[in-house]
């Protein structure tokens, strides 16, 4: 059981970046993105998501800004052009991999 858990975790870990990037066409703050991923069936805990968003920003894939207009200040993240290009490339890879895996597993 433990092995299934750890290997499943490993599989999901590989897909987190793709999942996160896919939801950032429009700007999102951390918690709203977390909720969105959870509702979409891909729950990611805050301890993983928040540091990941910062790293993606540091790598130049996301832009962020503090928005103080709402009830409290929130940091909003959104894909920039580099992030968009990477997402397109990753999506292509994912689809190809998916196709191959489906063939292998059938």
């Amino acid at each position: 059981m433990e092995m299934i858990e750890s290997l499943t975790l490993e599989l999901r870990r590989g897909a987190i970046v793709l999942a996160v990037l896919s939801q950032l066409h429009e700007e999102q703050y951390g918690y709203s993105l977390m909720k969105r991923l959870e509702e979409g069936g891909f729950p990611v805990d805050q301890g993983t998501l928040y540091p990941l968003l910062r790293r993606l920003e540091e790598n130049g894939l996301l832009d962020s800004e503090w928005n103080v207009e709402g009830s409290r200040p929130r940091r909003y993240y959104q894909l920039n052009q580099t992030g968009q290009d990477l997402l397109d490339a990753l999506q292509g890879e994912w689809e190809a991999l998916n196709e191959v895996m489906e063939k292998l597993l059938s």
Binding site: Y29, G30, Y31, S32, K35, Q46, G47, T48, Y50, P51, R54, R55, W66, R72, P73, R74, R75
Partner: protein, 343 residues
């Protein structure tokens, strides 16, 4: 909401100064979003109890802070293989240097009254602390490289090609000539040490003519070791004769050869601890019509001590090489090649 402030402060203590404020701000925003969400779900206003629940869910402040560190490793997965490779080399070199140094000091200074075994045992703590120090240094060096050189790794196998593969291990061929040599030399040694021990010594030649001879095999050495050497040579002869009729070295042959090697190491060990091999022997001198007075002083002053020390060094080197060889042969014998690849 003092609990939140305390939590945010506690997280901040574990964050790098440059990013502290920004990350703290973001964590506060996250906690408040979570609180708002939970209180809406529960239909109540957020209170200290709900705050405590949310903070419990977030986890220990140090854990939250750690998730913001990009490289949580002292030595990361990329450089770890290089670390292990270099570490192995360093530890082997340190051990070899240590053994060499110890052998040299035994030869040069003697074992100060104690036996070689006592000397070895007494220096084990030194070797151990030397190895621990080397290990510590390696960890420090790699930890620094990990943080200062991006993508640091050493690839020893970069230029690898299939030609570098070791030859497939063939069954060990018994070489008859080798065995015949062994038999001839063993018989020669047996005869020499048992019948003509007084002919073992130093010859001096002048223009191709023997001008003087001094027998140098010490009487104590001979009485101590002759029996055990004879046993070893007899066993060796038995082994070599048996092997003459074997095309391949079978498993039992390998074990017999290993047993002989262990025997040899034991003899070398005894040589190091027993009486010196060379010395003036009045009985042997008498057989050449000489007395102790006829032997030039240079023999007792220089030749014999230097030769004995040289022999001691040779025995130590042979012992170390022998032990390493024994271990590698032992591993090969215990774990025989499962698949013999076709060439």
């Amino acid at each position: 909401m003092k609990l939140i402030d305390r939590y945010i402060n506690a997280v901040g203590k574990h964050l790098p100064r440059s990013k502290r404020e920004d990350i703290q701000k973001e964590i506060r925003s996250l906690i408040e979003d979570m609180l708002e969400d939970r209180s809406q779900q529960a239909g109540t206003a957020p209170d200290e109890k709900l705050v405590a629940e949310v903070l419990q869910e977030m986890g220990a402040p140090s854990k939250v802070a750690a998730s913001y560190h990009a490289n949580p490793y002292l030595i990361g997965p990329k450089s770890y293989p290089s670390f292990m490779t270099i570490l192995k080399i360093v530890l082997v070199v340190v051990t070899a240097a240590f053994l060499f140094g110890m052998g040299m000091s035994l030869v040069l200074e003697g074992s100060n009254g104690g036996s070689v075994l006592e000397g070895l045992v007494a220096s084990i703590p030194d070797l151990f602390s030397g190895l621990v120090q080397a290990f510590g240094m390696m960890v420090i060096i790699f930890a620094i490289l990990e943080r200062t050189v991006p993508d640091f790794k050493v690839d020893f196998d970069e230029d690898w090609t299939p030609d570098d593969l070791p030859e497939a291990e063939e069954p060990v061929q018994v070489k008859p000539l080798e065995n015949i040599f062994e038999i001839v030399f063993t018989i020669a040694a047996l005869v020499m040490f048992n019948v003509y021990p007084h002919w073992i010594g130093a010859f001096t030649f002048n223009d191709g003519n023997l001008t003087s001879f001094v027998p140098l095999l010490s009487a104590e050495f001979l009485t101590t070791f002759l029996v055990i050497l004879n046993v070893r040579w007899a066993l060796g002869l038995g082994f070599s004769f048996t092997m003459l009729w074997q095309p391949h070295l079978e498993q039992y042959g390998k074990w017999a050869r290993l047993a002989l090697k262990v025997f040899d190491l034991g003899i070398l060990w005894a040589f190091l601890n027993g009486p010196q091999m060379l010395g003036l022997n009045p009985a042997f001198l008498a057989r050449h019509g000489m007395t102790l007075d006829d032997v030039p002083g240079i023999y007792t002053d220089m030749i014999i001590p230097i030769a004995n020390n040289g022999l001691k060094l040779a025995f130590i080197v042979a012992l170390i090489v022998g032990v390493i060889d024994l271990i590698s042969k032992l591993v090969k014998t215990v774990r025989p090649q499962m698949v013999v690849l076709e060439k």
